[in-house]
């Protein structure tokens, strides 16, 4: 196989330049593409601040021309409301992974709810759009994938594809919370898992971490995205140290990569292809939340840079 290389196309969307619904003013995290004939709709999570001063993540989208440089418009209304009192997605949806299914678009949400001894828990919900992804209606107040015996917390970041009639979900699960030092709040560690389903609603977890650690057991892995390229499945994700990762660029998110020919065994190889930050630029300190998709014969990678995407997302394209 010829060597795959990313060609960076720079930042393509800055949320602070637009008026977004739900009083969201910054952050365009975890971009996820839905390709139409004439344009590409890119969902992202943006943030409002509630009465207590804490963030609430909301889903919004931007429609872009297929050159992926020109913005057509941003969503003017709520794409999916947050969950009801006490529900898993009451305090945020971040991210939402979209996949076409028949005439509908399925949105797999990562819902956030606040806890007391630790900051949050998450679970994965399903919402369905019958208007080409302008709005989504959840199938129920609860999640389709949540914590289980050996995946005790923080089930989230579901990425779904239907392959040979089977729904596959790559997602993350928390292995636990830990106070890494006396003067910090608890931090969590999460790993990438895999589940299958025949209907997209009832899932069977594979039940183990599928991507090897590079940084040891305190590596957190997030937001898997999978794309088939020339008969091989490639997964991109992000990974970091589990603590002191927000401001210390040496411990913050980087883009990882693994490949598989059978969707069972994955070989991690972060170097081929490798996506590198550009010194002094928007992604110099951090690279995170990748999303791979194909458009008009090209493979693209959307991703966030510094500060977890506070100032938007950028793009790279694969060269072989």
């Amino acid at each position: 196989m010829s060597q795959m290389k990313w060609k960076k196309l720079g930042k393509i969307f800055d949320p602070t330049q637009y008026k977004l619904p739900n009083n969201c003013s910054a952050f365009a995290q975890s971009p996820q593409a839905l390709v139409f004939d004439e344009f590409v709709r890119i969902y992202f999570s943006t943030r409002a601040i509630d009465a207590s001063g804490k963030y609430l993540s909301h889903i919004a989208f931007v429609d872009m021309e297929k050159n992926l440089q020109n913005v057509i418009c941003v969503s003017s209304n709520t794409v999916i409301p947050l969950g009801r009192l006490g529900c898993f997605d009451e305090h945020g949806i971040f991210p939402m992974s979209v996949v076409r299914y028949g005439e509908t678009v399925l949105g797999y949400t990562c819902g956030w709810n606040r806890r007391v001894s630790v900051s949050v828990d998450t679970a994965i919900g399903l919402a369905i759009s019958k208007d080409n992804g302008v709005t989504f209606q959840r199938i129920g107040d609860g999640p389709v994938l949540a914590a289980s015996l050996h995946e005790p917390c923080l089930v989230g970041d579901g990425f779904v594809r239907v392959i040979a009639g089977v729904f596959h979900m790559w997602y993350i699960f928390g292995t636990g919370w830990k106070k890494f030092s006396l003067d910090t709040t608890p931090d969590r560690t999460y790993k990438i898992g895999h589940a299958v389903s025949c209907d997209g609603i009832n899932w069977t977890k594979e039940g183990s971490q599928i991507i090897a650690d590079r940084l040891g057991t305190d590596e957190s892995q997030a937001l898997p995205t999978v794309i088939e390229i020339n008969g091989v499945y490639h997964m991109f994700f992000c990974y970091r140290q589990s603590f002191d990762f927000r401001k210390n660029k040496d411990r913050s998110y980087r883009i990882g990569h693994a490949s598989s020919v059978d969707l069972v065994n994955w070989t991690r190889d972060d170097e081929h292809p490798h996506l590198e930050g550009t010194p002094g630029d928007w992604d110099a300190d951090m690279l995170c939340y990748p999303h791979a998709f194909e458009c008009d014969g090209k493979v693209y990678l959307l991703y966030n840079g510094n500060e977890f995407g506070r100032y938007g997302f950028g793009l790279a394209t694969l060269e072989t």
């Binding site: 009192l85 006490g86 001894s117 959840r138 949540a146 015996l149 928390g174 636990g176 919370w177 608890p186």
Partner: protein
């Protein structure tokens, strides 16, 4: 109508010395019968902390089989540890339901966590004992039964049974949180699931007991007992609001079924109601039916949902 003869309160947690974790409450009695004694599991609490918050533990009391009013001993320690930081059972293991299986005893329990917008959330865990139910180890650090699209939160009150080589779990699932005088109060309904191994569960996904006193009636403690060709369920129910009172507090209800999934509610048959005075003159809750030496007993809680212990009634006649 069944004719229950009340025998009085048989266990008072305030009378137990030397256990800082057992100061108040003896809730949700569940029996395991031995040759010489009856082990009754219950859930209890230390005094509330400075923020008036409780944690709950589960323990047992051994009663003399020949005279159930003769307390032989109380467990030295809780049967389960609270969960670790951020785990679903970090702040409570209540209630618990036990069953013998081969040489083990299995416990299904509700684990409690604390939330920001509502006071708590609950999911169901499982643990195994290899010493006749004295100590249990959890099968995992996460729940064995968790949230799903139409069971969004508060999965609690498990009652584990085996019929015809299948495992059955009756439990409750939260329907919604309502706000009464600034306090969030959960509404929950009785549900069931079945399993071939007690680990992987298939939910029935429906409310199996119709609501009688109001649409938002809350139902709990679905205790199923097979007798005389029928499945009998004793449970408890309350009004949605102001239920910490005699007027709107818990009462015991009854339903029966011939196939385990279709239940006919008939509270007029239950045959047990408030006493005019004494420990059970305001509330009746958490019923548990067991047979012992040719007699059918009902263990239950009285006022203040078991703050001062549980009592017993004996059936005059048969459950049919």
């Amino acid at each position: 109508m069944f004719r229950w003869e009340k025998l009085g309160k048989i266990f008072t947690p305030q009378e137990v010395d030397g256990r800082i974790w057992l100061k108040e409450f003896a809730q949700a009695p569940a029996t395991l019968i031995f040759d010489d004694f009856v082990r009754v599991y219950f859930s209890c609490r230390p005094f509330a902390d400075n923020a008036k918050q409780y944690v709950s533990y589960s323990a047992y009391v051994d009663l003399d089989r020949a005279n159930l009013f003769n307390v032989l001993s109380v467990s030295k320690d809780p049967i389960l540890k609270l969960g670790g930081l951020g785990e679903f059972d970090e702040f409570g293991t209540y209630p618990v339901s036990v069953i013998r299986h081969c040489s083990e005893v299995r416990a299904y329990y509700a684990g409690w966590t604390r939330c920001e917008s509502v006071p708590f959330n609950v999911a169901i865990g499982v643990a195994i004992s290899h010493d006749s139910g004295r100590t249990f180890s959890k099968l995992g650090s996460g729940p064995v039964l968790s949230y799903s699209p139409d069971e969004p939160f508060v999965l609690s009150g498990p009652k584990i049974r085996r019929f015809d080589n299948l495992w059955y779990l009756w439990y409750i699932s939260g329907r919604k949180w309502i706000t009464v005088n600034g306090r969030s109060e959960p509404i929950y309904k009785i549900r069931m699931a079945s399993s071939s191994d007690g680990i992987l569960w298939a939910k029935l996904n429906k409310d199996i007991i119709e609501s009688r006193i109001e649409e938002d009636e809350a139902q709990a403690s679905p205790d199923v007992f097979y007798s005389n060709g029928k499945y009998h369920m004793f449970f408890c129910y309350r009004y949605s609001r102001h239920y910490r009172s005699k007027k709107n507090g818990y009462r015991i209800g009854y339903a029966c079924s011939t196939n385990l999934t279709d239940w006919v509610r008939d509270d007029t048959k239950v045959g047990i109601d408030l006493s005019d005075q004494g420990w059970d003159c305001e509330m009746l809750s958490y019923p548990h039916v067991f047979e012992l030496d040719g007699k059918t007993y009902l263990a239950y809680l009285g006022n203040e949902v078991g703050r001062y212990g549980f009592g017993l009634a004996v059936l005059d006649g048969k459950l049919e």
